[in-house]
Symmetry: none
Subunit: 282 residues, 2 copies
DNA sequence: CGGTTGATGTAACGAAAATTACAACACCTG
DNA sequence: CAGGTGTTGTAATTTTCGTTACATCAACCG
């Protein structure tokens, strides 16, 4: 009984069918507002049918959707002791902007990271780690205008501990060629944050229709690619700047890498040593 | 838009008839959850008729009750950026390392970021921001095996708000060619963390001897490049993993970018708009 | 004291939402 | 490849809710 709705969601996420899981993701990413809309609105927002939302709620153990909403409200009342006081944004046009700005920035980033990890579904993480660690799979990575650097970053490191890792090169035209050879043994990890790129979406859809396993790392509002992705990890990106921050995405990448590494340590270790030797001789 | 629903309620409270005022009071007392129930439930809770609730909402200036609820939810999302403050549940100790590892990782990363910024020298930051923002300088970036992704990341974004930004391409052999044309009007931003790469060091030394302004972003133990660099920013990189974490470096980059952007906003803004237009026409 | 204004509740209406039943589909298993 | 299981959307049904029209009542004013 002590369990909160968020906990229930995270726990049961693994037992959910795909579309219901999408609903759960939205719920977690936009908690709790997403759950306070009508089930129909929520369904429309995620791109599934209303009954799917209802079934997910039922699977969580609620008698009805209204029951679920009531529970959500109860939790919130308990939680929001004094929401009025802090309502004003603390952007604080304080003393020296050059002195305070970095501090506010770092606080926001650190907070983003904590929230990102707090919202993570253990199931999704485990699945992704397993897929990335399985050497029978071929791994491909790609990102958007800014996030492609992350795809590059992760691919360079992952390549050290396992074979079969590629980073789709910049030229979007070339993606098609590489997509041609993919099938259900391929894993395509996509980074996409707002403003979402249509080219990435097209790629994801084409890949999904070829039974490629599409993984998505995105922002908390979920790229449309979430609809075709097998697993999704959302991260917080808002900071006091005109730009969004991709730092939480990077932390996520590193956490995935750490998990894959420790899960496959016997092999990874050998491989790293071999690589070391190679570097010294060449 | 600036006015929140609470403000409106408090202001108009005096002009309300008795029963409607009772509704308003309940709304304020149990804000905002009271307003997220159905109007009928709210009416019943206060002991008035449903239309009274509706009339009160109309008097506040809302088109309908659903409209009112929508607004309430919007405020909520804006306000509750961290609804999970208490969500740090016992986390079901059973799950083991797969559940706890990411949490420890995120804590370490967040801490790294905070410490990194806490130790920053405002002077160094200001100087670097000024150099990066000065359009008379040409900017070049490069990084090591892993950190080159960061060089790429920052250069892509900086290029949006100013001209003359280049990222030295992967082939180390080509670095020499690009170095050839550099002089005191060039700024070379280098990323280098342990294990420090000799090729980077050679590049830095060559550049410095040509009076190029070398900037360094490195780890807390300082790359040897620090000796020839004009300005240095160190970041924390240790996390519970066999890998080091470059997340704090990224946060640093984003903070620099934010500062440069806001310092040169007049120009940057124009340029971004122009770019936007260009993207739409092409 | 009659008439007017505004507040309030009752009841009826219509729209939207939740729920249920069913059929199509994909996926796995033998 | 057939049969079964489980998932999903469509469509029909029922319920709830928001909304509106109207009647009652109280207070105020000429």
């Amino acid at each position: 009984m002590a369990q909160t709705v968020v906990d229930q969601l995270r726990e049961s996420l693994g037992n959910f069918p795909v579309t219901e899981r999408r609903v759960a993701h939205r719920l977690l990413a936009e908690y709790p507002m997403a759950g306070l809309q009508s089930a129909t609105d929520l369904a429309r927002a995620v791109g599934v049918s209303t009954p799917t939302v209802l079934r997910m709620v039922a699977r969580l153990g609620f008698e009805s959707y209204v029951d679920f909403q009531r529970r959500l409200r109860e939790e919130l009342t308990a939680q929001l002791s004094s929401p009025l006081s802090k309502a004003q944004s603390p952007t604080a046009a304080g003393a020296g902007p050059s002195a305070d700005a970095p501090r506010a920035f770092s606080a926001a980033v650190a907070r983003n990271i904590e929230e990102t990890f707090a919202h993570l579904s253990a199931h999704e993480v485990d699945q992704i780690v397993a897929l990335l660690g399985d050497r029978r799979n071929r791994i491909h990575m790609v990102g958007g205008r800014f996030t492609d650097a992350l795809a590059r970053y992760l691919s360079v490191q992952l390549r050290i501990i396992r074979p079969g890792v590629s980073h789709l090169q910049d030229q979007e035209a070339n993606w098609q060629d590489q997509l041609l050879d993919m099938d259900q043994r391929d894993v395509l990890l996509i980074f996409d944050i707002r403003r979402y790129q249509v080219s990435l979406q097209r790629l994801a859809e084409a890949a999904a229709s070829q039974r490629v396993c599409v993984l998505l790392i995105t922002d908390q509002w979920l790229s449309p690619i979430a609809r075709v992705a097998r697993h999704v990890l959302p991260a917080r990106v808002v900071v006091p700047s005109v730009w969004d921050s991709n730092t939480a995405l990077m932390a996520l990448c590193e956490s995935l890498l750490a998990a894959v590494t420790s899960n496959t340590w016997d092999y990874a270790n050998k491989r790293m040593r071999a690589l070391e030797k190679l570097r010294n001789t060449v």
